[in-house]
Point group: C2
Chain length 401, copies 2
Amino acid sequence: MKLSTGWSNQMKFDSVVVRFGGEMGIKGEWTRRTYEKLLLENMKKVLEHHNIPRIKIIHKRGRIYIKTENVQETASKLTLVFGVSSASPAVETTSDMNDIVHRAVEVADIKFKNGCSFAVRCHRVGKHPYSSMDICREAGNKILVDLKSRDLKVNLTNPMFTLGVEIRDDYAYIFIETLRGVGGFPLGSQAKVICLLSGGIDSAVACWLVMKRGCSVIPLFFDIAPFTDEAAIAKALDVARELFKWSVGFPRRVYIVQHGRNLETFVGVNPRKLTCILCKRMMYRIAERIAEIEKAEGIITGEAIGEQASQTLINLRVLNEAVTNYPVHRPLLGFNKLETEKLAKKISTFEISIRKAKGCSAAPGKPATKARLENVKKAEQELDLEGMVEESIAEAKIVTV
Amino acid sequence: MKLSTGWSNQMKFDSVVVRFGGEMGIKGEWTRRTYEKLLLENMKKVLEHHNIPRIKIIHKRGRIYIKTENVQETASKLTLVFGVSSASPAVETTSDMNDIVHRAVEVADIKFKNGCSFAVRCHRVGKHPYSSMDICREAGNKILVDLKSRDLKVNLTNPMFTLGVEIRDDYAYIFIETLRGVGGFPLGSQAKVICLLSGGIDSAVACWLVMKRGCSVIPLFFDIAPFTDEAAIAKALDVARELFKWSVGFPRRVYIVQHGRNLETFVGVNPRKLTCILCKRMMYRIAERIAEIEKAEGIITGEAIGEQASQTLINLRVLNEAVTNYPVHRPLLGFNKLETEKLAKKISTFEISIRKAKGCSAAPGKPATKARLENVKKAEQELDLEGMVEESIAEAKIVTV
């Protein structure tokens, strides 16, 4: 069957092939369908947000094909959608072998450098009067013959260019370039979480990692003024804005809790070396209350084992004890600092996080690295913890960034 | 000062430069010293374990220099020590510039390929009558002159070979090759943890990640026979053996808990879709009891958000609720499956984990992905949970692998 020859038209990259196999592909049928539907919605939101007009969207199992005037921007923006594993700007044609081979030559003519090596790879779903191998052979030969003057060579093991042909039922897509996405699951496929966001390197990456696994996030910033300066809050909000680029169409709310007075109280408590532990336990308690209010299902922090004095395994246990109704999830637990920094650069939060801001001036010179729960509880005994939580929540601000 | 010319001796790679900067280097003085001492102990254990004789070990801030007959094996084995960021087989010489330049030419002569490009890089600590730049210039020039027939070229931006010179007080080390370690913190610098180890891909990687951050681990395997076959336990023990290659000198104990009878009980409980949740909550409870016995400080699992039906964020919260005294740490929380597999290959557990074993035959066809705590508690109400834990602990076996 030949839908149209189209040979007289000027060849144009008019489509984007979006892939989301991997983990989504191995889910049960019902889950997979729900996830794919959600992914499609998230992709549409991104296209709308960037004012990218699309002419047609075809959703097939494991693939979405988008017909658009602006293939490069579409492909590039869609790699910022969680669940997308890759996207290729492509030329659409019919699944007729002559059409495919003809278009393949045109694409090769435009994209291949003189004297380069190439391979043709074909992926085919549907019933066709030819095999994938036939396509590779026919297209490869025709490229060699028609572009004889270009001095091209076939190299199947390590080609400089790979011409991809993806045939899906009545249509075929021809492409050279593949932009990598980050995979994971579509945002919103998992429950909501509260993310402690300091503006620093770690918490931003931790937040992004759970977004990648499908969680929508509500960042929570603790303002410890006067123990820091105003740069701290500006950094945190800028980090939140950067992260929200990955959640187009979802709420962009950030909780800001005035934590300075709480911290002042803790500084006055003996022993002084417990200040950080007491401060963090209070942060967790407040996060727990906000999780209740927001009907979230967990609390996310950027802690990595041993990275800071307060983050020894022993201290993490003492911190955990402050929260009873929600799990505290720490996606960076096993990350080295360098690994976290590398990821922060990739997601563009690094440059924001390293901007100068005054570090916490309430931190003791020698913080406890092996806090004992009974000592911590004793130190907390005299304090009106519940009142501190209540007041912090009452004074919390919610900003949309 | 010239300690020895040594020029008449045949040049020999006789030393290994071991680096452990990065995260250990930015710790406070006391912590850093404690960590470096522990790292040195762990390194010695590895050398003894592999019967590698060493002639001398020099420990300086941020570096350990090992004099040995067997530089390649030493460097290679030491990259399996957590905390080591890299190791280079090297030639030791005095810090006299003539000695360094002479040895540099000898190393270049042996290691450089004809016609290659190279650069000399120098790192220097101590007081010397020359600068690092002087060394680079002198060594570079002498190599070009003395090895004129070899057609070498200097390329400072993208050289094929980099000749490293590290000068530390009275000694200098010349090397070409640098083997990467995995960084992190020396094993034992953090508290002990109980790691749920199934033999599958994920739990092995989770276990390794917390080892990398300094935790010594006690693997805990739940034998669900007759709901699986004997291949399962063999896999888990082999994975444990592979992981213990990273903890030479530390205990190699594995807990094996007979969990089949517990699981049989859960299969009989309504609703059937909760079986996995009930089973896992019991695993957590037993792990908690073992943590108490072993004075561990946390429980490690291989769960990643959304990877399996039991691992939705909502379910993780329900699972967490079963444990009150210990944190459940999930280092893979934000990992994509592909990322976990890549790491599993790197640490050589992948091939073991993909060996065939019968999957759990008790898993329901449609497991709950949004379990409600009240329903789970209701289902558990009729069960003698405490008795199940007691019995499981009483019958637990501890094997040394």
